[in-house]
């Protein structure tokens, strides 16, 4: 891992060490975040998968009933029967904070005439299959909304997990090794300087001793 190029001073080393500590703490936190996100994501996805299997099967059933109904009823009658619904459904949208990911939650609000059977057409001109199809569809409503909520949550969580994972990896495999390499290289340079200093001192001491010895010899010869 290439180190960051900085001046090899004690000051820089301390700074880099502090940065490394921060990165390590951040890495630990993000890793915990990723694990928790993953746990919640898997719960959501498992539920979503089961729900989707159920919903898809039911929708196919509804379509079958509906096809039969449209076969025995004229298209115009069919549209007439369905065009003005007695029910009106709307969603109450709330937001939930899930590990700092904002996800929507849906609450279904069905506005229906009280005492109404929910069928907005006379029974004389339509077939019984249409009733069946609509009843099945009505039962599906809650599941459909729940499925939408779960899939959206899964998508948003997946995005957040992906981002967190990238961050964790960047810290773990790029930033932290880089800091470590920098600290190591500064330390080696400082040590090298230290050794250079020591040898220089030894050399100077030798030279001074040699000079003293020479002086003493000269003095002895003069005598």
């Amino acid at each position: 891992m290439p180190e960051i190029r900085v001046n090899p001073t004690r000051m820089e080393m301390k700074k880099t060490q502090a940065r490394y500590q921060t990165a390590r703490k951040g890495h630990k936190l993000l890793k915990d975040k990723r694990d928790e996100l993953m746990k919640q994501f898997l719960d959501v996805v498992r539920e979503d998968k089961a729900l989707r299997e159920r919903v898809e099967a039911s929708i196919e059933k509804v379509h079958r009933s509906f096809t039969i109904a449209s076969a025995v009823t004229s298209p115009k009658m069919l549209e007439e029967a369905l065009i003005c619904p007695k029910k009106e459904c709307s969603l109450e949208v709330d937001y939930k904070n899930m590990m700092s990911v904002i996800v929507p939650t849906f609450h279904l609000d069905v506005l229906a005439d009280s005492g109404s059977d929910g069928y907005n057409y006379g029974l004389a001109f339509t077939s019984g299959e249409l009733d069946t199809a609509l009843r099945e569809l009505g039962e599906l409503l809650e599941d459909l909304v729940r499925m939408a909520e779960l899939e959206k949550t899964a998508q948003l969580l997946a995005e957040e997990i992906e981002r967190t994972r990238r961050r964790v990896n960047a810290l773990e495999y790029i930033l932290m090794p880089q800091y470590l390499a920098t600290i190591k290289s500064i330390k080696m340079k400082l040590d090298e300087n230290e050794r250079g200093n020591t040898t220089r001192l030894m050399k100077v001491k030798d030279m001074m001793l040699a000079a003293q010895r020479q002086q003493k010899q000269d003095e002895d010869e003069e005598e």
Binding site: V55, V93, Y95, Y119, V145, K152, Q155, A158, E159
Partner: protein, 106 residues
């Protein structure tokens, strides 16, 4: 208060009218793309269901809104029955998050 929308072929979405969904019939993918943008931009919709045959064609358009909190754009099987497209999407989300498919491997 948000609405629930549904986009798809006439036959596939007619039944949802009776539930009180706001139903949008389309007959081509281009029409669907335009409609989808209008619906999303109107900010009135919490959930938009779209039948699988169009969800496949409009994949890129839907992808644009993937990371927004609202609306939830969800594919449901159309007249032809389930093609596994919706399930595939769940699988993709798992792969995106985990890096490997851990739920669907059989």
């Amino acid at each position: 208060m948000s609405k629930i929308g549904i986009i798809g072929d006439r036959d596939a979405v007619l039944g949802f009218m009776a539930l009180g969904f706001s139903v949008h019939e389309i007959s081509s993918a281009e029409e669907g793309a335009k409609l989808l943008h209008t619906l999303v931009r109107s900010n009135e919709y919490g959930v938009i269901f779209i039948t699988e045959n169009y969800a496949v064609a409009l994949e890129d358009e839907i992808g644009k809104y993937k990371d927004l909190p609202l609306p939830a754009i969800v594919s449901i099987p159309g007249k032809e029955g389930s093609t596994g497209y919706g399930m595939n999407h769940v699988k993709e989300a798992v792969e995106r998050a985990v890096g490997a498919d851990i739920l669907f491997k059989d």
